[in-house]
């Protein structure tokens, strides 16, 4: 009888430890801060944590782009491309948002946060 009780305690302990492990794993995989991936054409050239005020210069096909970040936001402040669509897209602040500069073949995608998979 005592052995049976010990077995049950052992199994219950294993289950509890496994459950704690899974919860920890899930919470660690969630990111509080957003980040941004920057691609030139189809190549990932940089991943930036959006956790501070910062400025980056990226060279595209027709000009340099000045990319600025602050906490959980990113934007293109200057570009030499003709239509400046990337600059006019303004500050993007939510996960899955993108900024594209077609003439420069630069693509910026906000990741993390896990609020939504996509914004259209």
């Amino acid at each position: 009888m005592k052995k049976l009780r010990n077995d049950i305690i052992l199994i219950a302990s294993i289950l509890i430890i496994a459950l704690i492990g899974i919860i920890l794993l899930l919470s660690l995989s969630k990111r509080d801060n957003l980040a941004a991936e920057i691609y030139y054409d189809d190549e990932l050239i940089m991943t930036i944590n959006l956790d501070k005020e910062a400025e980056y210069i990226i060279t595209g096909d027709v000009s340099d782009l000045i990319i600025k970040t602050d906490i959980n936001e990113i934007w293109v402040s200057e570009s030499g491309c003709p239509d400046l669509i990337c600059v006019h897209q303004g500050h993007v602040k939510s996960t899955a948002s993108v900024i594209t500069c077609l003439p420069n073949k630069i693509y910026i995608k906000v990741i993390g946060g896990e609020e939504v998979d996509l914004i259209v």
């Binding site: 049950i8 189809d42 303004g90 993007v92 939510s94 993108v98 077609l102 939504v116």
Partner: protein
């Protein structure tokens, strides 16, 4: 007895662990084509790089044949310039046939012969001016008297109008990507073709969360949760100019020849990416009651935005 209990516990424990197969996100590099970027993500998909390459080729192919610029393949530009095209690719022939059939299906609110007028408006908008009304009327007459003939692999334009496949090519290519994925039993994917054409597979069996953005301010207005669907969006917010408080943009009403401003944004939810693309363009020019009736007849769901709020929303988005 003891062993039996132990066995049952262990069985459930192992079953529990095996059911916790984690979500594996397989992001792919963006594809620059069709005047936009195509963003593809797979979920728990074996050999996803092979599928990515195959889909990339599909988009490249349709980008080439539908191009209004210089292209490596025989394209719409060649057809518009020369008025006929010999030995055209079957892909282009099928695409044009589909575009013409959908022009009738969408009651003329989508018109692939709008090429010349569309080009003139784009030039005007770029130069911060609006088109002269006489030119618009003249171009509408040309558009309405243009048709296309096929003789095996030769395509012939009748009349003086130009083809513009911008309202269908991306959705058509996405639908071809869908057919490829289905044929290869791939279910876990998300394709975002420039935010205006989205294909949802499933996320390791789960729903996706798609935020529908307000047209002119930041932030999502509603979150749609679903899977195995196509979403098409049309918006006048890109490449526009405001003159006398009227926004002039690239989405033209094929009956008036002017940019439509009934809505700021139209979102379509249906089962076919090509239809999502074409219908979002068509509905953009329909009055509210016409749009509601059209959506009902076609069994599609729509959300119509005006002034950063929802003007009309059908039931399927919830």
């Amino acid at each position: 007895m003891k062993n039996k209990i132990l066995f049952i516990f262990l069985f459930f424990f192992l079953f529990f662990l095996s059911s916790c197969n984690p979500l594996k996100i397989q992001k792919c590099s963006p594809i620059f084509c069709m005047d936009t970027t195509i963003d593809i993500t797979f979920y728990n998909t074996d050999d996803y790089q092979t599928h990515y390459k195959a889909i990339k080729e599909i988009y490249y192919k349709y980008d080439e044949v539908s191009s209004d610029y210089e292209s490596n393949l025989k394209s719409v530009k060649d057809l518009n310039d020369n008025r006929y095209l010999e030995n055209a690719d079957n892909e282009l022939i099928d695409l044009i046939k589909k575009a013409i059939s959908l022009m009738n299906d969408a009651d003329g609110y989508y018109n692939p012969f709008i090429g010349r007028l569309s080009h003139l408006w784009k030039e005007a908008i770029k130069n911060n001016r609006i088109l002269d009304n006489d030119i618009i009327l003249e171009e509408l007459a040309i558009m309405n008297s243009t048709s296309v003939e096929f003789d095996n692999n030769t395509i012939k334009l009748i009349g003086d109008g130009n083809l513009d496949l911008g309202g269908i090519a991306k959705g058509y290519a996405t639908q071809k990507a869908y057919e490829y994925l289905k044929g290869n039993n791939v279910t876990g994917y998300l394709i975002n073709a420039g935010n205006s054409n989205v294909l949802l597979g499933d996320k390791h069996g789960d729903n996706f969360k798609v935020g529908l953005a307000k047209p002119y301010t930041k932030g999502a207005i509603i979150i749609y949760e679903g899977l195995n669907k196509a979403i098409g969006s049309s918006s006048g917010k890109y490449q526009n100019v405001i003159i006398d408080n009227i926004r002039y943009h690239h989405l033209l009403n094929p009956f008036t020849g002017y940019p439509s401003n009934i809505y700021d944004n139209v979102n379509i939810l249906c089962d076919d990416s090509m239809l999502a693309d074409v219908y979002s363009t068509a509905i953009f020019s329909m009055d509210l009651e016409v749009a509601k009736e059209f959506a009902k007849n076609k069994n599609i769901d729509i959300i119509l935005f005006k002034d950063d709020s929802i003007l009309y929303q059908s039931e399927g988005w919830v």
